[in-house]
C-alpha cells in the first residue's frame, strides 16, 4: 500500500457510485494532523456500529445508526473533501488494524457492516453500478426457469422474517458458496448447488465480495507494514498508527491486573457476590453435574483466567469437579491439556482472551450446553427463576425482563449489577470480567469505608 505523498497512481474510484470501494490507496497529500484525526473520526463510526450491534439492534435500525454516526463524524467543511476523508481514513485504519489477527477480524467485520448499511441506503441505480464494480457475473434467472421455480421461490420469500416482497420477480442464480449468510439463514431457495437470490438480497452478495477483497488487502498491508513501513515510519506515522487501536478497543482482560490472584477457596464466595449471571450459571452447573461441555469450559475457564486464577489452581479446580464424574485419570488425559492450552502452555501457545459480552451473546448453545448469555438464551421462566435466586426484588426483575424483551441483553445485565450492588453502573457491562472487576472494586471500597 502506498502511503501519503506518492503521486504514482491516479485517484481511482467510480464516479457513478457514491461509496468508494477502497481498491487502491489514493495518491493524495494529507496533512499529518488529518492523518490522525480522520482516522479517529472513522474509528468512532466503527466503534459506534460495534456497540450498537452488541446491543442487539436490528438491521433496519442499524441503517439509521450508521447514518447518524456518519453524519456526526465524517463531515468536512469543504464538500469536495468529504470523499477524500472517507478514503484516507479507511486506508489509515487499514494500517492500524492489519497488524494482528484479532484486529483484522474486528476491522473487517465493522468495515463490512458499514459498507452494507451504506449500500442499503443507496438508490437502485447506484446499487446496480456497485454490483457491476464487483464484477458479479450473475445472470438473472430466465423467464422459463422462473416459471418453473416460482412457487418454491415465493415459499422462501414468505418464510423469512421479515417476508420478502413477492412482487419482486428478479432473481439471480448464484453458486451457493457465494452467499453463505443467506444459505445459513435459509433465506434462499437452494437447488443443485445454486442459490436463488432476490434482488433485495443482493446486499449479501456485494458485502461478501467487499469483505473478501478487504480481507486479502489486509494481509498484504500487514506484510508491507512488517517489511518496510514500520521501520521507515518509526518516527512519524508508526506511533500514530500503533496508538490508534489501543485507545479504542478497551481492556481485553488477558492480563489480570490490580486485584491480585484468586485462590480456589475464595471461588464459592466471590461467585455469589461478583460473578455475572452467565458465569454463576456455568459455575452452578459445574458444581451440580461435575461436568461442562466444550463451550461452557471455554467461556467459564477463560473467565476464571481473567479474574486471576493461576494455571495450577485452575487445574486443581477443574480436576476436583471433573474427577467426580469421569475420574482423575481421565481428567488428566482428556481435559488437562485443553486447560493448559487456554493458558498458552500448549500447541501454538496462543494466549486466549476471555470472551466479551458480544461474543457470548452471539454464541449458540445447543443440547447439553450451559454457556451463552442467559438474558438471551434462557426462556423467560428460567431467567426469572435465576434472577430470583440472585435475590432481585420484583421491581428489578421486571425492569430486567423489559430490557430482555427489547433485546438489550447487556443493559439487562447492567441493571442486574445495579440491583445487586445497590449502586449505579454508568459505563454499562461489556465484558463478564468487567462485571467482576467493577463488583470487586465496589465491594472493597465499601469495606474500606466502613472500617
Amino acid at each position: 500500500m502506498e502511503i501519503v505523498g506518492s503521486r504514482r497512481k491516479a485517484l481511482h474510484y467510480d464516479a457513478v457510485s457514491t461509496i468508494p470501494l477502497y481498491r487502491s490507496a489514493p495518491a493524495l497529500e494529507v496533512r499529518l494532523e488529518d492523518f490522525e484525526l480522520f482516522a479517529m473520526d472513522r474509528l468512532r463510526v466503527l466503534k459506534g456500529i460495534s456497540d450498537a450491534l452488541s446491543r442487539g439492534k436490528k438491521p433496519e435500525e442499524m441503517q439509521q445508526v450508521e447514518r447518524d454516526l456518519w453524519k456526526a463524524n465524517m463531515k468536512h467543511p469543504e464538500a469536495s473533501e468529504v470523499v477524500n476523508k472517507d478514503i484516507i481514513s479507511h486506508f489509515v485504519l487499514r494500517l492500524a488494524y492489519c497488524r494482528t489477527e484479532d484486529l483484522r477480524k474486528w476491522f473487517l467485520s465493522m468495515e463490512t457492516a458499514l459498507f452494507r448499511y451504506r449500500f442499503m441506503s443507496e438508490s437502485v441505480e447506484a446499487q446496480r453500478a456497485l454490483m457491476a464494480e464487483f464484477d458479479l457475473p450473475y445472470k438473472a434467472v430466465s423467464n422459463a426457469e422462473f416459471e418453473s421455480t416460482k412457487d418454491k421461490l415465493w415459499q422462501v420469500a414468505r418464510s423469512v422474517v421479515p417476508p420478502l416482497s413477492t412482487a419482486d420477480t428478479v432473481f439471480y442464480k448464484v453458486p451457493f458458496e457465494e452467499v453463505p449468510e443467506l444459505v445459513a439463514g435459509r433465506r434462499v431457495f437452494v437447488h443443485k448447488g445454486h442459490a436463488y437470490v432476490a434482488r433485495n438480497q443482493v446486499v449479501s452478495l456485494v458485502a461478501t465480495q467487499f469483505r473478501s477483497h478487504l480481507s486479502k488487502a489486509l494481509i498484504l498491508t500487514n506484510r508491507k507494514w512488517i517489511s518496510t513501513i514500520r521501520e521507515q515510519e518509526s518516527d512519524r506515522l508508526a506511533p500514530i498508527v500503533e496508538a490508534l487501536c489501543t485507545s479504542y478497543l478497551g481492556p481485553d482482560y488477558s492480563e489480570p491486573r490490580e486485584l491480585g490472584d484468586i485462590s480456589i477457596k475464595e471461588i464459592d464466595q466471590i461467585a455469589q457476590s461478583s460473578f455475572p449471571l452467565c458465569m454463576r450459571h456455568l459455575f452452578e452447573k459445574l458444581r451440580e453435574d461435575h461436568h461442562l461441555k466444550h463451550g461452557g469450559r471455554m467461556q467459564f475457564g477463560l473467565f476464571l483466567k481473567g479474574i486471576g486464577l493461576k494455571l495450577d489452581d485452575a487445574l486443581a479446580f477443574w480436576k476436583a469437579e471433573f474427577s467426580q464424574k469421569v475420574g482423575a485419570e481421565r481428567f488428566d488425559k482428556e481435559y488437562a491439556y485443553s486447560i493448559r492450552h487456554n493458558y498458552g502452555r500448549e500447541g501454538k501457545r496462543t494466549d486466549y482472551t476471555p470472551y466479551s459480552c458480544q461474543k457470548i451473546i452471539s454464541s449458540s448453545p445447543g443440547a447439553g450446553d450451559h454457556h451463552g448469555c442467559p438474558y438471551r438464551h434462557f426462556s423467560e421462566e428460567n431467567l426469572r427463576a435465576a434472577l430470583g435466586k440472585m435475590r432481585l426484588n420484583n421491581r428489578a426483575v421486571e425492569d430486567v425482563m423489559d430490557k430482555v424483551r427489547s433485546r438489550h441483553y447487556q443493559l439487562a445485565c447492567t441493571l442486574t449489577f445495579e440491583a445487586i450492588h445497590g449502586t449505579s453502573c454508568d459505563a454499562g457491562i461489556n465484558h463478564p470480567n468487567q462485571y467482576f472487576t467493577d463488583s470487586q472494586k465496589y465491594l472493597q471500597s465499601k469495606n474500606q469505608s466502613t472500617v
Binding site: K152, Q155, V156, R158, S159, V160, V161, F176, E177, P180, E181, V183, A184, G185, R186, F189, V190, H191, K192, G193, H194, I219, R223, H281, H294, K333, K348, S364, P365, G366, A367, G368, D369, H370, P374, H377, F378, S379, E381, N382
Partner: protein, 463 residues
C-alpha cells in the same frame, strides 16, 4: 468381560494366520465380544482395506496422468490414537505402502483423518515462522457427525452410550433428511455415510467442490441444516416459520411426519405418562389448549371404547385441537410441526462441520468400546441398517478361522480375506457405490483442468 480380563487373561485361542481355509478351530467357546488388541493386529494385517483407503484419499492423484499432483496424498493429515491413549497427530505418508506399514506397525486403536494441508504436515514447523499461516488446510471433505446422545431428551428407551432398535431409527431419519438435501439442494454427488461404531453416524461429502469449501461456507451449510436451538434452559427449542422453507417442508412431508406418527410415537410411548406428555405440552404456548388436553389425559382417563394405542389417540386429540382453527394465533398452527421437528429432525454437531482442520474417525476402524467395525451405510436403504448386527472384531476373526462364508464360490482362496468374512459386503459396497464413481469423477476433473490449461497456453502462444 472387562478389558482387563481379555488382555491379561488366557490366550486360549490360537489364530493361525497361515491357513485360513480349514484352519484351526477356536478352542472352547466363541471368542469374547468387544475389543482385543491382538485381534486388532490381525484385523489390520488381513482385513482393513488399506489400498481402498489410499485410493480414496488420493482422489485420483495416483501418478498415472501428467496432471496428477504427486504431493497430494503426502499432504493429508492422519492421526493415530495408540494404546494407553498416546496420541500421534500430523502423521503423513507418501505412498500406500507407507500408510499400510505404519498402521500395521503401530496398530492404532483409532485412526482419524484430517485435512489436506498446503505442505506436508511433517514439515509444518518450517513454515510456522513466517507468521502468515502458510501451513494451512487447503482441502477437506465436508463432514457431519450425528450422535444419538444429542437426542437424549427425546428418547426414553436408552440414554448415554446405549442404542437399541427403538431409538436407532432417529439416525435413519437423520440420514434420509441430510442425504436428500446434500444431493438435491447442494448438488453433491459423492457422499459416504458411515456407522460410527457405537451410537451415531458420520457423513463424508467428497466432491471437489465440497473439499474446497471455506470454513465460512461449511458453517453456512451446517446452519442451513440446523433447526433445534437451545438446551434445557430454554423451553421452545424449535421455532418454525409459516410457510416452511422448501427444504424443511419436503423433509416434513417425505420423512419426518410419517416417522413420528407411525414409529416414534409408539416406540417411545411419547404420551404414556404424565411426565412424558407434559414435555410435549410445554411446547404449546396456549394455556387454554394445554389445560383442555390435560383434562382429557390426567389420571389416565381414556375412552373405554377405543382399542387404539393411547399414544396414537392422544396425538390425534392434540392435533385436532391445534389445527381446529379455534385459536387463530399463528402459534398453535405451527405447533404440530414444531413438535414433530423437536423429536425427529436431525441434530448435528455444528463444530465438527465448521472447521477444515477438524479430525474425524476413518471408516473401517474398530470402535474400542464395542468392537464393532465402522462400516458404510447405504443411504438408499438405511432403514435396513441394524447397528446391533454390525460385524465385530471377534466375529470377523472367527469367520476367518472357521472358513469362508462364500462357500458357493470356487476360487475362494483367490479372494481377499475380507471378502470371505461379513466385512466383504461393506467393502464391496464402499467400492462400487462410492469409491469407483468418485475416482471416475476425479479423473475427469484432473483431465479437464489439464486440457483447459493446455488450451489456454496454446492460445496465449498464438501471437
Amino acid at each position: 468381560m472387562t478389558r482387563e480380563d481379555i488382555e491379561s487373561g488366557s490366550q486360549d485361542m490360537v489364530i493361525d494366520e497361515g491357513k485360513p481355509e480349514g484352519g484351526e478351530r477356536m478352542q472352547g467357546n466363541a471368542a469374547p465380544e468387544g475389543f482385543n488388541v491382538n485381534y486388532l493386529k490381525v484385523y489390520y494385517g488381513k482385513l482393513f482395506p488399506h489400498a481402498d483407503m489410499f485410493k480414496w484419499m488420493s482422489y485420483g492423484n495416483d501418478g498415472k496422468h501428467p496432471a496428477c499432483d504427486q504431493s497430494y496424498f503426502g499432504r493429508r493429515e492422519f492421526s493415530f490414537t495408540l494404546d494407553n491413549d498416546i496420541y500421534l497427530r500430523f502423521q503423513s505418508f507418501n505412498s500406500a505402502s507407507e500408510l499400510e506399514n505404519s498402521i500395521k506397525e503401530k496398530c492404532p486403536f483409532k485412526i482419524d483423518i484430517g485435512p489436506v494441508y498446503s505442505v506436508d504436515p511433517a514439515k509444518r514447523h518450517a513454515y510456522a515462522q513466517s507468521g502468515d499461516n502458510v501451513f494451512a488446510p487447503v482441502e477437506r471433505e465436508l463432514i457431519f457427525d450425528i450422535d444419538i446422545t444429542d437426542y437424549d431428551d427425546v428418547r426414553y428407551c436408552c440414554s448415554g452410550a446405549d442404542v437399541c432398535l427403538d431409538c436407532w431409527p432417529l439416525m435413519t431419519v437423520a440420514i434420509k433428511v441430510i442425504d436428500a438435501s446434500l444431493k438435491d439442494d447442494f448438488g453433491f454427488n459423492h457422499i459416504l455415510w458411515v456407522y460410527s461404531g457405537r451410537r451415531g453416524v458420520h457423513c463424508w461429502v467428497c466432491d471437489g467442490k465440497a473439499r474446497r469449501l471455506t470454513n465460512e461456507q461449511r458453517a453456512s451449510i451446517a446452519e442451513y441444516f440446523r433447526v433445534y436451538k437451545g438446551n434445557e434452559n430454554s423451553h421452545k427449542k424449535v421455532s418454525l416459520s409459516d410457510p416452511l422453507h422448501p427444504f424443511l417442508g419436503r423433509s416434513y412431508t417425505e420423512v419426518l411426519k410419517d416417522f413420528f406418527e407411525s414409529k416414534l410415537l409408539l416406540s417411545q410411548k411419547l404420551f404414556s405418562t404424565e411426565e412424558r406428555y407434559e414435555k410435549i405440552l410445554e411446547m404449546i404456548p396456549d394455556e387454554s389448549i394445554t389445560s383442555e388436553l390435560r383434562g382429557k389425559w390426567q389420571d389416565n382417563k381414556r375412552s373405554s371404547i377405543s382399542k387404539e394405542d393411547t399414544n396414537v389417540v392422544r396425538w390425534e386429540q392434540l392435533k385436532r385441537i391445534l389445527q381446529s382453527g379455534k385459536h387463530k394465533a399463528q402459534g398453535p398452527q405451527m405447533c404440530v410441526k414444531e413438535i414433530v421437528f423437536s423429536f425427529t429432525y436431525p441434530r448435528l454437531d455444528m463444530e465438527v462441520s465448521k472447521h477444515m482442520n477438524h479430525l474425524l474417525k476413518a471408516p473401517f476402524c474398530v470402535h474400542p468400546k464395542t468392537g464393532r467395525v465402522c462400516v458404510p451405510i447405504d443411504p438408499n436403504c438405511c432403514e435396513e441398517f441394524d447397528p446391533t448386527s454390525v460385524p465385530t472384531l471377534s466375529k470377523l476373526l472367527e469367520e476367518m478361522n472357521t472358513g469362508s462364508l462364500r462357500a458357493d464360490i470356487d476360487n475362494v482362496l483367490l479372494m481377499p480375506e475380507w471378502d470371505r468374512t461379513s466385512l466383504g459386503k461393506s467393502v464391496r459396497f464402499f467400492r462400487s457405490s462410492f469409491l469407483q464413481p468418485l475416482l471416475k469423477a476425479c479423473k475427469e476433473e484432473i483431465e479437464n483442468s489439464y486440457n483447459a490449461k493446455l488450451q489456454h497456453s496454446k492460445n496465449s502462444l498464438n501471437w
